[in-house]
Symmetry: C2
Subunit: 378 residues, 2 copies
Amino acid sequence: MTTKKILNFLDRRDLADGPCLVVDLEIVRKTYRALQRSLPQTRIHYAVKANPAPEILELLVGLGASFDVASVAEVNMVLEAGAAACDISYGNTIKKERDIAQAYRMGVRQFAVDCPAEVEKIARAAPGSQVFCRLLTDGAGAEWPLSRKFGCDPYVAICVMHLARQRGLDPCGLSFHVGSQQTDPAAWQRSLEQAAKVVQTLADEGVLIRCLNLGGGFPARYLSDVPGPGDYGREIRRALRAHFGNALPDTVIEPGRGLVGNAGTIRSEVVLISSKSPGDPLQWVYLDIGKFGGLAETMDEAIRYPLTTRYGNTATVPYILAGPTCDSADVLYEQRPCRLPHNLQIGDDVLIEGTGAYTSTYASVGFNGFGPLAVHVV
Amino acid sequence: MTTKKILNFLDRRDLADGPCLVVDLEIVRKTYRALQRSLPQTRIHYAVKANPAPEILELLVGLGASFDVASVAEVNMVLEAGAAACDISYGNTIKKERDIAQAYRMGVRQFAVDCPAEVEKIARAAPGSQVFCRLLTDGAGAEWPLSRKFGCDPYVAICVMHLARQRGLDPCGLSFHVGSQQTDPAAWQRSLEQAAKVVQTLADEGVLIRCLNLGGGFPARYLSDVPGPGDYGREIRRALRAHFGNALPDTVIEPGRGLVGNAGTIRSEVVLISSKSPGDPLQWVYLDIGKFGGLAETMDEAIRYPLTTRYGNTATVPYILAGPTCDSADVLYEQRPCRLPHNLQIGDDVLIEGTGAYTSTYASVGFNGFGPLAVHVV
């Protein structure tokens, strides 16, 4: 999965000590094109939080993408990469009123909400803006846990859209999220059925929903195979036709992981290999990157990254894998150990693949004195 | 629990937008003195990873403390604060050989190990140094989960110490850790019993252990009362006498959380309060700090911080508490909701108390565009 370009970069360069993430822009470009082909009528908003590297943002601006941002800092990054403010959607439903005002001053006119209080803030701080109400979904089939943190039930959503109109906002859309690393392309079907009912109720009450934001959830390929963009596109188009017939709304998707996850590889180093006692069936392998250096998504062993070494993938044995900090919670895979070569040595490189998304910005600012993850875009 | 000095600072200062941690040095000083009084014969190594703020390190240098470090960067911080290299113990059992060499060049001569491979590294990179072998403990009674990540069983420890001597190192001590936020002062009793047996076996084989590192584990006071330093000192002294009689070894403790946890308070802001549906029994409160902004220890709701507001603690109701990012895992307390005033408002300050340890350095470098936690030491 690690591209030649990344391997060449790692071979050629005298890199600073410590782990680093290398992202291959060509993969981002190809994946963007594949998503576009799979949903040709749908606008793509890149979820900047997945990886805000300037080179990625600039590439996507060049490809005509729009952007989903979580904060004013992300608005800034996207504008600096050359995007137009009208191509930015402020998708975080949790915003300070002064951040809404700041984004509005910067030209942002699309905001996500999931409750009346947020509508009131937007009415005051970003008058006349477009509002998307996020519906609560169950996240079944997603590998990264989806809590009830975002979204509201259909009743609240209908109230929210009416309130938005009363406050002079444009209640233009609904959004939902089927859960990150969603491995079931049919997951959109359930959410679209629910969304269609809300759209119908609102239409009956005189509020016309023009756009559906279908969220993210498109998976990266980790240890297991996942369906491709074509499969997702086909299922989503089928569900749209089933629930909206010929009255298809505009649609938006917000890929993050699905767009950049497989474009990146982290190079780490084996710091130590040891046993706790002579009778232990498994050895421990300690890398120079762990939960607090960028691999936070190994929480509860949710995301299982493929690992490769110079020894190939034959003659592997199970190991417990852990990070380099003095924190006993900094263990990556223990319940389900990972397979690595039986002859792995201290000092060996381990490539952690599919790490283009949700790594560099998750890294701690300096826990245990270990600095943030270095990022190289090639 | 938030001191007048911290409250005055927060009142007086026009702070930048966003959450901040304020640490009162006076509390650090008092807690250091209390720990000293409780174990007058024991040397205190401050676990720098708990909070490496330069002002804290400088205060502790002035008080005569020694330091437990996890990385070369932490060696640097401690030296810059004015400590002598001989007062530094490199307590991380997972070290790159070049980091051991670097620390040795900087004057460090005490290193922790828990396996033969680490002894070999130290023999090559830090010849003649003192070696402490860490024993595996079960962590029963600790609120922050202690995994099997660190330490080895007695058999391996004995081999490790013999190997250290063969390699020209000084096999001078054993260490163990009873688990962070250890609420049972008797926990040291079990570990000391095990350590005493290893010391005896080694003595019989001609290796004299001169020092025991009793680790950290001393708790901060969060929502529930915890025993004070006096209780811990009494139990530890009793256990030492029980297992070592008059042949008491030198002893070291490594408090981190127990020394600085209660010295700090985070000021955060309520960004949103909402319900998912009209029938929901609980509302959600969203703060401008969460799991990725410094409150990583709310993982699995392990550490429960006290929260205070301008309304006092009367007329509270349970809320689900979450952070500001677009990550659905960024929820602080949901299984066991937290109590906050029924009339809490968007924009209110919430003080998160007992946050002097394991917050500022855990903060992500910029997840969702939210910057690291600001730290002020008063």
